[in-house]
């Protein structure tokens, strides 16, 4: 058997690696105090704001100062804007809650956009065909049921294939987004014969207004769901099982958890929550249906959930921040006359900075040039000696892949053989 790279032996490769070793060392942060991640994250958010302001100034030189003022004016300026901000937070939060159980299970469901759209479509269908023919209360409940069931079934499709044949769920759910979008366009062409593609405001099935304000009931519903999901993930047996599956499928199998069952159950829950989101969007917010109803929130929610480390209560904060950035930046772009898509750019830059900050929460970076000096051995600080020792250990661990791997060890060995003989 020849080695894959054609190098004479692993030992030589190891020596080469030592020679080429970079002066930057990255190690997992083990001993950080509790306040440390919080400080880093707050710093990241502040930095993100500053960077976004600089980006704004790049497009519109006079807008640097305006940025901060308009960010707040766009979000807290009027009572209406405050409610809009909280509604945006709520809907993002709900979709983020929907994807969270799946993500904890390491099931990369990026189909929330489509799942929400299917929920919305089911609700709109009920309103379109039954609106006015039954009581309003009954219609709203029927819409809710249809949304939840429709969305759950839609989500069940990739889950079944993942559970049975291990079909790649990321790609599958991604494709389903566009099928769902096309499905809505399709239904709209059936409903609107003129081909304009606009359904218009539907008269029936509106959720009641609380205190004459829109969205208040929606926000309360989402608050309730947040608590329920938190309890489910934190205290229920189901929540425990899905996090075991996420950590290690082999462990889950070993302690007698049926992995396919957990995958299917969790995805049904995920779909049902997306269905509720679609229902709220149709019955409680826009009263119509179109392909941009979810408006990319299905994707943004993934970021919201991930940034919160899949903790429903932290998600309230991250969802709020993201909604704040989006709404505020939209206002900035209107005032500074930059252009509609500018809000997305600011949001993306914000995400970049915050995502990058996670690295500094989890890892520490040390820069040492000691091992690059010519006379090795004597000039080395004890620190870099330790490092070499640890990298030597790493290499040994690589030579014997079944020593302490948390993944399936058999898998590694088998595919190693495959790679070499290929």
């Amino acid at each position: 058997m020849r080695s894959v790279t054609g190098k004479p032996s692993k030992f030589d490769a190891f020596v080469d690696k030592l020679k080429k070793e970079s002066p930057i060392h990255i190690a997992k942060r083990m001993d950080a105090p509790k306040w440390f991640p919080i400080v880093i994250r707050i710093a990241a958010v502040v930095a993100a704001f500053l960077i976004c302001a600089v980006v704004t100034a790049f497009f519109e030189p006079n807008a640097f100062g305006t940025f901060f003022v308009e960010m707040f004016r766009g979000t807290f300026g009027t009572e209406r804007r405050v409610i809009n901000l909280f509604w945006e937070t709520a809907i993002l939060l709900l979709i983020a809650l929907a994807v969270t159980p799946a993500f904890k299970m390491k099931f990369w469901n990026i189909g929330a956009e489509g799942q929400v759209l299917i929920g919305a479509l089911m609700s709109a269908t009920c309103i379109y065909y039954l609106g006015g023919k039954m009581s309003e209360g009954g219609l709203i409940v029927l819409c809710l049921l249809a949304s939840v069931v429709g969305s759950a079934i839609w989500t069940l499709i990739p889950a079944l294939f993942k559970a049975k044949w291990n079909t790649n769920e990321t790609l599958f759910t991604l494709m389903l987004n566009y099928i769902a979008t096309a499905l809505i366009s399709l239904v709209i062409t059936v409903w609107v014969k003129s081909g304009s593609g606009v359904v218009g405001i539907m008269e029936h099935g509106h959720l009641p207004l609380l205190g004459d304000q829109p969205y208040v009931l929606n926000i309360l519903i989402v608050a309730l769901i947040t608590v329920l999901v938190w309890v489910y993930l934190r205290f229920s047996k189901h929540g425990y099982e899905l996090s075991v599956v996420g950590e290690s499928i082999n462990t889950a199998k070993y302690i007698g958890i049926s992995v396919p069952k957990v995958i299917i159950r969790t995805m049904i829950l995920s779909g049902a929550l997306c269905g509720i989101a679609g229902w709220l969007l149709v019955n409680g917010a826009s009263y119509t249906i179109n392909t941009s109803l979810a408006g990319g929130r299905g994707f943004t929610a993934i970021l919201v959930s991930w940034l919160a480390h899949f903790d429903p209560l932290v998600m309230v904060i991250t969802a709020f921040l993201v909604a704040f950035m989006g709404r505020g930046a939209a206002q900035v772009s209107t005032i500074a006359n930059i252009g509609g898509s500018f809000a997305d750019i600011v949001t993306a830059v914000f995400f970049f900075v915050v995502i990058a900050s996670e690295f500094f929460v989890n890892y520490k970076v040390k820069i040492s040039f000691a091992h690059l000096k010519k006379d090795k051995g004597e000039e080395k600080s004890s620190e870099s000696l330790d490092k070499q020792a640890s990298s030597a250990e790493n290499d040994e661990a690589e030579a014997a892949p079944d020593s302490d791997s948390s993944e399936a060890p058999d898998d590694v060995v088998a595919s190693e053989d495959k790679e070499v003989t290929e």
Binding site: K10, T167, L171, S185, G296, S406, E419
Partner: protein
């Protein structure tokens, strides 16, 4: 009619071909880059600004040389799109972030940047540049039949097919390709065998993104002959779908992209109702899902996604 349909289909397919070949190279290294639509947009931005500065450097539009404008456009598109790939690799390899999260953010960023930057761009002379981009070996209007289908295309079309074939050979037949596949299938093993996982992933993503970026350039300058009004993002997702549809084989992507483009074009050429058009638009995604399902059920190893697709590799965390 038929020949015209076939010709325009092949032309349109080039957009998907660039995107999917670029994404295939990236995915072979184990990087699931969901930022491809954004990166294609970034390629379009780079290409357009490159063409802009080239036009500005000339005294008058009549001095514009077809070779130079295509070359400048391609280089700028490649570099700017590769910058998107660099951001992706920096986040996923160096900063060890989640690939899905990073990719989606890049898509948001690139698509928004595209519509903003291009709306601010001065497009005088773009139509003339676009005609130079779209110039075929033979004139499409005066020829017909097989000659038209095969020889009436512009340089970017043939370059796309050449890139697809070269990529297929490199991945299948060379040591670099073998190492790349090893990194995508089992990074831990590749690392143990002395292959630098990070370096392969960086370079695969950079090159792949650059190639995908050429698709953005093609769409604006060639397909739309210099009109900057339409977004690329929906086509970008079709390019991602095409990677799955062609089971990670760039040479098959040539035929696959023609099929996808034919489906898209059919709704224009056949006299269909609105509803039928929507069904046809849905078809590429549905067949992609079917391919994904079928390969996972009856999957031989050669038609599976790279085993480590979407997972980051850190030596310490095995």
């Amino acid at each position: 009619m038929f020949w015209t349909f076939l010709t325009s289909t092949i032309k349109f397919s080039t957009l998907f071909l660039y995107g999917s070949v670029g994404e295939t190279i990236t995915e072979k290294s184990g990087h699931l880059n969901l930022g491809i639509p954004g990166i294609m947009c970034m390629g379009a931005i780079g290409g357009c600004y490159g063409v802009r500065s080239y036009i500005d450097s000339l005294g008058s539009l009549s001095q514009m040389s077809g070779f130079a404008v295509v070359l400048v456009g391609m280089i700028c598109a490649f570099l700017f799109a590769a910058l998107g790939g660099l951001i992706f690799s920096f986040f996923t390899v160096t900063l060890r972030c989640n690939q899905n999260i990073t990719g989606l953010t890049i898509t948001t960023f690139g698509v928004a940047l595209n519509s903003l930057m291009l709306s601010k761009l001065d497009t005088r002379g773009f139509y003339e540049a676009g005609t130079l981009f779209a110039k075929g070996i033979v004139d499409a209007n005066t020829t017909d039949g097989l000659v038209k289908v095969l020889f009436s295309h512009s340089a970017l079309v043939y370059i796309a097919i050449a890139i697809a074939i070269i990529t297929a050979i490199v991945i299948k037949r060379t040591r670099v390709g073998l190492n790349l596949r090893a990194v995508g299938e089992n990074p831990a093993t590749a690392d143990a065998a002395g292959i630098s996982v990070g370096r392969y992933r960086y370079f695969a993503t950079l090159i792949g993104s650059g190639i995908a970026g050429l698709g953005g350039l093609f769409f604006i300058m060639d397909y739309l002959t210099g009109s900057v009004e339409y977004g690329i993002d929906t086509y970008g997702w079709l390019a991602v779908a095409l990677v799955i549809f062609t089971v990670w084989k760039p040479n098959w992507a040539i035929l696959g992209s023609i099929l996808f483009a034919a489906l898209y074009n059919a709704s224009i050429y056949l006299n269909l109702s609105f509803t039928e058009r929507e069904i046809i638009k849905m078809l590429p995604y549905i067949v992609t899902v079917l391919v994904l399902i079928i390969t996972s059920i009856f999957g031989r190893k050669s038609v599976q996604p790279p085993a480590a697709l979407g997972t980051s590799y850190f030596r310490e965390e095995r």
